[in-house]
Symmetry: C2
Amino acid sequence: MIFRQLFDKVSSTYTYLIASDKGREALFIDPVLGNVELYIQLLKELDLKLVKVIDTHIHADHVTAASKLRDKTQCVTIMGEHTPADAVEIKVKDEEIIKLDHLKIKALYTPGHTSDSFSFLMDNYLFSGDTLLINGTGRTDFQNGNSKDAYNSLFNRLLKLPDETLMYPAHDYKGETVSTIGKEKKFNPRLQVRNVEEYIEIMKNLNLKKPAEIDFNVASNLKLGASI
Amino acid sequence: MIFRQLFDKVSSTYTYLIASDKGREALFIDPVLGNVELYIQLLKELDLKLVKVIDTHIHADHVTAASKLRDKTQCVTIMGEHTPADAVEIKVKDEEIIKLDHLKIKALYTPGHTSDSFSFLMDNYLFSGDTLLINGTGRTDFQNGNSKDAYNSLFNRLLKLPDETLMYPAHDYKGETVSTIGKEKKFNPRLQVRNVEEYIEIMKNLNLKKPAEIDFNVASNLKLGASI
């Protein structure tokens, strides 16, 4: 398996490149529009053919590169079945398997940050989108976010994975690149709650600013980053 | 082996945490002063004891966390033997082995970016400092930098390592996190030269701006980041 983590400094977004050694098929998770040239160059350098692009959810803080990558490489665009983006070609269900040569990536429906949020699991690599962050969790105050759903996605799905599962989030703002389910369970301050009510209370009192350019980004991402 | 790559957004610096599973001894390469709290928290979360801190060279673009980490954890500070920093406790020679429980890290003298630049090799992980960057190489126009030395360090040391060696640089400005010696040999534009004269010519014509705050950073790093 070939694996690369890429960082977009503007939005602090992590993009993931997964590819098979033998078949040279590649897949991006959460690519950022501004970095398409880097992605195309990297695919060429690593001798890979991009076949699939996944967005974990409709992002509010950056524009996806999905449609541009589809236009440039004829890859297929994928999101979870609850996406409001009509342009998505394959909409996967909870527990559905996405194949990449011999590699298998399982879709996990983890709503809460947004109502369309999915996470993706490949062996012991969890791509947690904005559902679970390192020492944080995704905010739940826009795009049909819901703290009760988030609690369920966290405590009844992601935290049930083995402690040694590697956790690769869609963002980090402090400079960490990876964590584990075990470490998050023990130290993530948002997860040190006794019940769903306590979690809802924490999330209600975050008082976060609205992301800059959310309206433009969401409108653009509903078209997978095509010009609007 | 426990391994973490950490990113400082202000200076685009990568810091590396290496630790042994069993003995729980840990080492940082190129830690950044502004991130000490994150490092201390991470050591606690991973149940590690910091015993060593290495700077690959005297940095011009950020202040090292070496002295602050030494004060907080009683770790030992390490640099290559050509460092002008008197405060360094252990000065390693070319090919000298640094031990971390059962892990062995080999020092490689790779001058050119600066006259004190070392790289460090642990199994197939190369920490190349500013000597070799992803699709780039360290500038050679200050701190006794020398393009001929850099050419030798690159072509006669680092590029002689096996193609599959993982290359972890001290910086990346475009969002990549890791490369391999094979990929750099083939695609890094600075390395597509026929001889040392061509390399010197490229480096002579870069016309780079002087780094912001170089004078303060270098003066501070000569004291390993202690207040000046």
